[in-house]
């Protein structure tokens, strides 16, 4: 069963991933819904603890106990990933859906040569590929992500690469089997500006060439602005605003998204205090009743004691707020 070309590649509906800790239940992801079209780039933005990474891990079925997906559906090419047996999920991972992490050493095994790791990723899904063919594919993969002297580098170990080069290797491995979806969890956060620019450039180019859709998870609004078609802003386990990247970044409707974008230094005039969101992210164990942002919001009133729904507005823009900044749009 495969989805038609007009249907989205990935449909996440009401995803709920909770962690059952000794101190109580952490609703890390609590009713998240979004879609990703073929070849589309979706940015998921949020601060620490917003649930953005857990959302990515949930799609791949990589949530470890005490965490568990407790509700919702994840339809990928028509199949519900939350109901797939582990064996079938394994076959998808690295083949149809791949992931890169903030720390490339989460992908790489420190005691194996790069060649061994890359060949393994190919032959795990295509056992009929010979060792020689796998080596060639691996070499081409390294060359594609801009690693010089790819042939020689195949026999190197991960510690012989710099941080930026390791991330390139991780990306090369992720793209080896030409997946239709790549999930990137803050892969450039630990890198320097010039190296980050190179990686962003390569990933965007490679995904466009191989027709891979991309979910880019980050705390950095500016990176999303340069990369994504659409963006979802998460706060305390929920999407509070979602829409085309220009609409969300230029005319944010949710008070949190607006505060977040307003607090970026380059958006502010020198010498004028930065816009700031008062207070801090509430503890995930003690979220306020109703809208989770209520206690930090200047617009909150009694209505906000009930959690608002993610309401659709014109132009595929959605917002979860009773008092959105609608006047700004007109």
């Amino acid at each position: 069963m495969s989805a038609g070309p007009s249907e989205p590649l990935l449909v996440v509906e009401g995803l709920r991933t909770h962690f059952f800790t000794r101190l109580g239940v952490v609703r890390a992801v609590d009713g998240v819904s979004f879609t990703v079209g073929r070849r589309e780039v979706l940015g998921i933005v949020g601060e620490s603890g917003s649930g953005k990474s857990v959302t990515g891990f949930s799609i791949l079925g990589l949530v470890d106990p005490p965490g568990r997906i407790v509700g919702g559906r994840i339809l990928f090419e028509g199949e519900d990933l939350t109901r797939l047996p582990e064996g079938r999920l394994r076959a998808l991972r690295g083949e149809r859906i791949a992931m890169i992490f903030q720390d490339p050493m989460m992908t790489l095994n420190p005691v194996l040569r790069i060649e061994t790791q890359m060949a393994e990723a190919i032959r795990a899904h295509h056992p009929d590929v010979t060792t020689t063919e796998a080596r060639e594919l691996a070499r081409d993969g390294l060359a594609r992500v801009g690693i010089p002297a790819a042939e020689e580098r195949l026999s190197a170990y991960p510690h012989q690469f710099s941080g930026g080069m390791r991330q390139r290797v991780a990306i090369a491995i992720a793209l080896l089997n030409r997946p239709s979806l790549l999930i990137a969890d803050e892969p450039t956060t630990a890198l320097d500006v010039t190296i980050q620019a190179q990686i962003l450039h390569e990933v965007r180019k490679l995904c466009a060439e191989s027709g891979t859709a991309l979910i880019w998870i980050t705390h950095d609004l500016a990176v999303v602005g340069g990369l994504a078609d659409r963006v979802a802003v998460m706060y305390a386990g929920r999407i509070v605003e979602q829409g085309p990247v220009d609409a969300v970044l230029d005319h944010p409707l949710h008070p949190y998204a607006r505060g977040l974008i307003g607090s970026v230094p380059s958006r502010n005039r020198r010498g004028v205090p930065l816009q700031q969101i008062p207070g801090m992210t509430p503890s995930p164990l003690k979220l306020p009743v109703g809208c989770s942002f209520r206690t930090r919001c200047t617009r909150a009133d009694d209505r906000c004691l009930v959690m608002p729904e993610l309401e659709p507005l014109p132009a595929r823009h959605l917002v979860r707020c009773f008092h959105p900044y609608l006047e700004v749009v007109s």
């Binding site: 965007r204 602005g225 990247v245 607090s263």
Partner: protein, 333 residues
Amino acid sequence: MSAAPLVELRQVSKRFARPLDLAERMARSLGATVSERVVHAVDRIDLTVFPREVVGLVGESGCGKSTLGRLVVGLYEPSDGVVLLRGVDRGSLGREERRRAQLRAQMIFQDPFASLNPRLKVREIVGEAPRVHRLVARRDLDRRLDDLLRRVGLDPSYKTRYPHQFSGGQRQRVGIARALAVEPEFIVCDEPVAALDVSIQAQVINLFVRLREELDLAYLFISHDLGVVEHIADRILIMYLGRIVESAPTEELFRQPNHPYTQALLAEVPRLDRRRRSFAPVKGEIPSPLDPPPGCHFHPRCPHAMDRCRREAPALREIAPGRLSACHLNERG
């Protein structure tokens, strides 16, 4: 600015050497040519910070910006060159004088988790230095603590808490209160907001700006984030592999970057107003400081590199009033 500089560095270098291990020493005694590996973390740098000035220091990892910050506050001794505090050579000061002088320059660190002792209460973390240096009478210490905590936006009742009871942003505020406790006139801030979430980062940057106005502070503000530095600094220094390559007033630097490395940095910083833009990023890796390229350190990545750049390191020269750049291109035409 006419006042005497608070801090002045003259041709300061800092080298770190890894001593030879046993096998290498044996090899050498048998006649092999084995030498110590030396990192030139900071290479003949001049730097001045005037009273009430905020100097931004920008560079990528390994460029030596943190080492430079530590040299300035006296956590490291320079391998070469002199550090002047209000015009007096720090090396010439006696022990007690030096201790007094160094109290005037404090430091705030990047990691608010690693830079606070987890076993001490806030009262001890912030109050220890003024007590040890006898800056405040014992009976006034509590009132002083309350003032300090209020000044950095923390509730005075928090002084009985331990660091683990605070969020990252609050811990950074504790670190700031600790630096302020000895009434410095100058603070080296080493990536103080890099570990914080965007919304918390804005709160802490605003705090730095407010404190500077209230207390007439000067900062050396070290960051890899040009957006943050653009907001807070009066003047910006760009560092690459141990050397300063450009120095300019903030607005001029952003309007018209001179050095090719500065130009590359400015072009490549993701900005909110740049959407799905395609560009050719600067090529290559940051070279290892153990083995920097000869001549201009940036030449292997520079689109304008000429023969001369491979042979000869360009000096940091004045290219306009108040602007310095180290690039051979400025000497043509």
